[in-house]
Amino acid sequence: MLKIEGITKRFGGLVAVDQVSLQVNQGEIFGLIGPNGAGKTTFFNILTGIYKPDAGTIMFEEKPFRIAKSGIARTFQNIRLLKEETVLDNVALGMFGKTSSGLWAAILGLRSAKEEEAIVHTESLRLLELVGLASYEQLEAGSLSYGNQRRVEIARALVAKPKLLLLDEPTAGMNAEEVQEMTALIRKIRENGTTVILIEHNVTMVTGLCDRIAVLDHGVKIADDSPEAVISNPEVIEAYIGKVDEEGVTQHAAN
């Protein structure tokens, strides 16, 4: 469904993403791993239109892609919620691109605007239920635990029913139990028909969850294969040397 060819992004002299090509199929959970600074987040930022690539093409469902509206949603590595708004309002925000009522509808209180609001409301509640936060809807988003804030971000990304979900380190800073819950949630998301690209440092989790994994190192794709093949790939091991302990990169959790 997603076909990327020769994507390059430079920041001054630094080549953050270097001629990366990949293909993600419908219904896959696709892992994207690599050491710190490998260019993973930059890659997501290109996919969501925040950065323009210096070279390369992206096709989404056979069409040159457009942002958000075309069905790609994301979460951020550093949680970006509107912390003083309620959990529900944060999730509702995800529906923005799906709604369209304008100035006059708002001022005149048109039925169409109210109906739209009602749909946004029910959909947001449905998503909160899916991520297991049904009873948190009226709390301030900033008051939630780290793990739950991540769930709110996922709900916000999913509420518009994207075809492709980009998750940037969804388990960073989580304990083992929370990681398990997140893994189950990602599985559930896929079962609901959403394709997932997952950036993750927790190697155990990625290999257990993903159908395929690509590895970036200094912006270059050095592997793209099944989880088993990727973790036994000598080039990958070398890229990670000194960075991986048995459980994955736990020191990274500090971020």
Binding site: L82, E85, F96, T99, A105, N255
Partner: protein
């Protein structure tokens, strides 16, 4: 109406009319700075554009005052949208400087252009009339009250709607706004246009009340005064603006009324600015969100930059 004119002291009526004009100014600025987070130090420019537009159309071109006031709002809407364009390119602190500059430029145009009457300004601005009655004192008061209520109503509807949500998201985190598919360009220009239109309405109402306008009335002091009022009341709160503007506007009038012995009346403006300044410092220290506010200045950075991004520096998105 004439009966009422006799009953109410026109001096007090005037104070209330001018207060309401300030309330409109404050609402417009709160929309731009409070709801959408776009700092503006040039609000007086929009005020002046509204005033001069209506004055020029009615005096120079002989337009009916109702039509000229309506046109003034439309004209300010359009020009404000254009003057809001810098907000698309520069960040908070620079936007303050840029709007300050635009305000100064606007005032110097008012003072020097031929069409605005140069340093002299424009006089004999006609009073609008309704059913053959000229709207003076109480009549004019009713007019401004109606405009104010309409302004509050529209603002409440807008800020609670999908549009309000877009503005709020832009204020809190522009990156998220983009990721959610919010067209930030459109909504920023829109908020300047609408906030400017409020100021334009205030300006037109001012011109036809005062019957004489000159560039002095639309300077930097006005921009700062209105900003202090809005900040005192609370950014992002309609009630806050109503309260903040009323208190700071009426305070000097009270001084004037009671003719306090220890103060020289001719220095009232100086005292006024001193009191405003002092209040601002106190509010910022103890209630940075204003008295009713939901938001303070400088929020954007709080969530955006994680430790990591701060260390790496730059404007990157993680």
């Amino acid at each position: 109406m004439n009966l009422m004119d006799d009953m109410l002291n026109p001096y007090y009526v005037d104070i209330v009319v001018f207060l309401i004009i300030y309330l409109l100014l404050g609402l417009g600025l709160n929309l731009i700075t409070g709801y959408a987070g776009q700092v503006s130090l040039g609000h007086a420019a929009f005020y002046g554009i509204g005033a001069y537009s209506s004055a020029i159309l009615s005096v120079t071109y002989g337009m009916n005052p109702w039509a000229s006031m309506g046109s003034a709002v439309v004209i300010t809407f359009v020009i404000s949208a254009i003057l809001g364009l810098p907000s698309l390119r520069v960040r908070e602190d620079f936007l303050a400087i840029t709007t300050l500059g635009l305000g100064l430029i606007a005032q110097s145009v008012f003072k020097n252009a031929e069409i605005t009457g140069g340093a002299y300004g424009i006089d004999s601005i006609p009073v609008p009339s309704l059913f053959g009655l000229e709207l003076k004192n109480v009549g004019y008061l009713l007019l401004v009250v109606v405009v104010l209520l309409a302004g509050i109503f529209v603002m409440q509807k807008m800020t609670k709607s999908r549009i309000g949500r877009a503005w709020m998201t832009i204020r809190e985190d522009e990156m998220v706004a983009q990721a959610m598919g919010i067209n930030t360009t459109y909504y920023k220009v829109l908020v300047f246009a609408i906030g400017g239109a409020y100021a334009g309405a205030a300006g037109a109402l001012f011109a036809h009340k005062a019957s004489y306008i000159s560039a002095e009335s639309f300077g930097f002091t006005i921009s700062v005064t209105v900003l202090s009022m809005v900040v005192l009341g609370g950014l992002g709160s309609i009630r806050g603006t109503l309260f903040g503007v009323s208190v700071l506007y009426l305070l000097p009038e009270l001084f004037r009324l009671f003719k306090l012995d220890f103060m020289e009346m001719k220095n009232l403006d100086v005292y006024k600015m001193m009191v405003y300044g002092l209040l601002m410092v106190i509010v910022m220290r103890y209630r940075p969100k204003g008295l009713f506010g939901k938001t303070g200045f400088k929020k954007k950075k709080r969530y955006s930059a994680g430790k990591e991004a701060a260390i790496k520096g730059g404007d990157q998105v993680a």
